[in-house]
Symmetry: C2
DNA sequence: GTTACACTGTCGTCAATTTGACAATCTTTA
DNA sequence: TAAAGATTGTCAAATTGACGACAGTGTAAC
């Protein structure tokens, strides 16, 4: 992957695309490539943060382990996604675990370089504040829209979130296929595999989704969205 | 309430207390007092934002209405709490409904004055970015710690959150008594009044909390925290 | 004080969900 | 290709929690 391809990733992110080209090139110049093998950990919750990441290729699982030792997956992040910015702004530890679910290539902009960018260009602040606000709004939505929903509603909501990307609320790269096991889905909505299996097959019979081995395909997004109301 | 009392509220908030005194006095000078009667609405989700608020006296219910028309309460805010800052930074509508649960006096710093403060003092930006990061972290915690918990665990977590103040994570004003009906608590964890009643009385018998009319008192915070693990 | 209202305590019933078990199917690895 | 491992489909039993009902108790208003 050469610099022009990396430049593309900056220009096609709805937060970073407004940075002037010379700033982007400056960031790329100090960035490091990080390659993770399948299953390898990028960072754990509580780790001190070394930088902000962009996924060049691969799939990162964002999760944390609750007190019973059960892993709760927040979301998966894929190509072109930037993440890990919160620790850049408050210098506090990582909020979640991050694992590579397949061999992944990441670009890391070191924390100091990123912070220097802001220090040298305080007019970028409002821009990144909006970015943080968007994160808060997405997170509030997750809470609000989950609370009060039936299990079927939560499941529908979660499938849509996984398809659209929790952390890419502004981008419109609506994936239709989601590679996820029913057990993982169950974890995410705090339910059991068997119940999720039953509900998914109900949705399958209504031709709203297509259920496959380790895979869910959205057929009728409108119907799925309608289910998020129950 | 005179200006020196209002000044006190600025100086005792862990975000605003670092502002220089002349800035605080400037903000107070342009602020407006807003009085709400019991039950009156301050703003609805989706309303455009007029400013950032501080509760001088009273109690504000932050909630929103889900698609079935059921109100989901996020939290209650009380004396000395600042809220509504997100719309100041991204110029987008309110994220929640806000109602006065009793007659309330609010101080409003108008949006334009607040934004001018930042424009004139870009060195305040990092400060407010940290504030936003704290909000995100608190919200992530809410999601992470709720997911995977039993109903009893969620109840314990919620009681602690109400005692410590969801929106005051940095302050250490640990209230021990919470004025809330069992029905409201049930709404907050998406459960039924009857179940909450049963669970609360179980906790009461174990001397972890004391249950009263419209009131819960925390007796054994350690035990309560331990329950958030199940 | 007394009347109205809000909140709590406690039933039983019923529906939804978990759990454990086991077989079948798909994918990966050797 | 064969074996191992992961994932799915399905059952029945046990559990959990929602819901309606109703009585009792605390609080506020007049």
């Amino acid at each position: 992957m050469d610099n022009s391809e990396i430049e593309y990733l900056f220009k096609h992110n709805n937060w970073l695309d407004q940075l002037p080209l010379h700033v982007i090139q400056g960031l790329i110049a100090v960035s490091k490539l990080k390659v993770l093998n399948k299953g390898q950990i990028l960072h754990a919750k509580g780790d001190s943060a070394d930088g902000i990441y962009c996924i060049l290729k691969g799939k990162i699982r964002v999760s944390n382990v609750n007190s019973q030792g059960k892993e709760m997956v927040l979301t998966w992040l894929e190509n072109g996604t930037w993440f890990g910015e919160i620790s850049m702004f408050d210098d506090l530890p990582r909020t979640h675990d991050a694992h590579a679910d397949e061999k992944s290539h990441l670009l890391m902009v070191p924390k100091l370089a990123f912070q220097k960018l802001l220090q040298d260009n305080p007019h970028f602040y409002p821009f990144f504040m909006r970015m943080l606000c968007q994160r808060i709004r997405v997170t509030f939505n997750l809470i609000d829209e989950t609370g009060g929903l039936s299990l079927l509603g939560q499941l529908a909501r979660r499938i849509i979130l996984l398809a659209n990307g929790l952390h890419n609320a502004g981008q419109h790269q609506k994936t239709k296929q989601i590679g996820i096991s029913q057990e993982s889905l169950a974890h995410m909505i705090n339910s059991s595999r068997q119940t999720v299996n039953k509900l998914l097959n109900q949705l399958g019979q209504k031709n709203i989704i297509k259920v496959d081995y380790g895979m869910i395909e959205i057929i009728d997004m409108q119907e799925l969205e309608a289910l998020c109301e129950i």
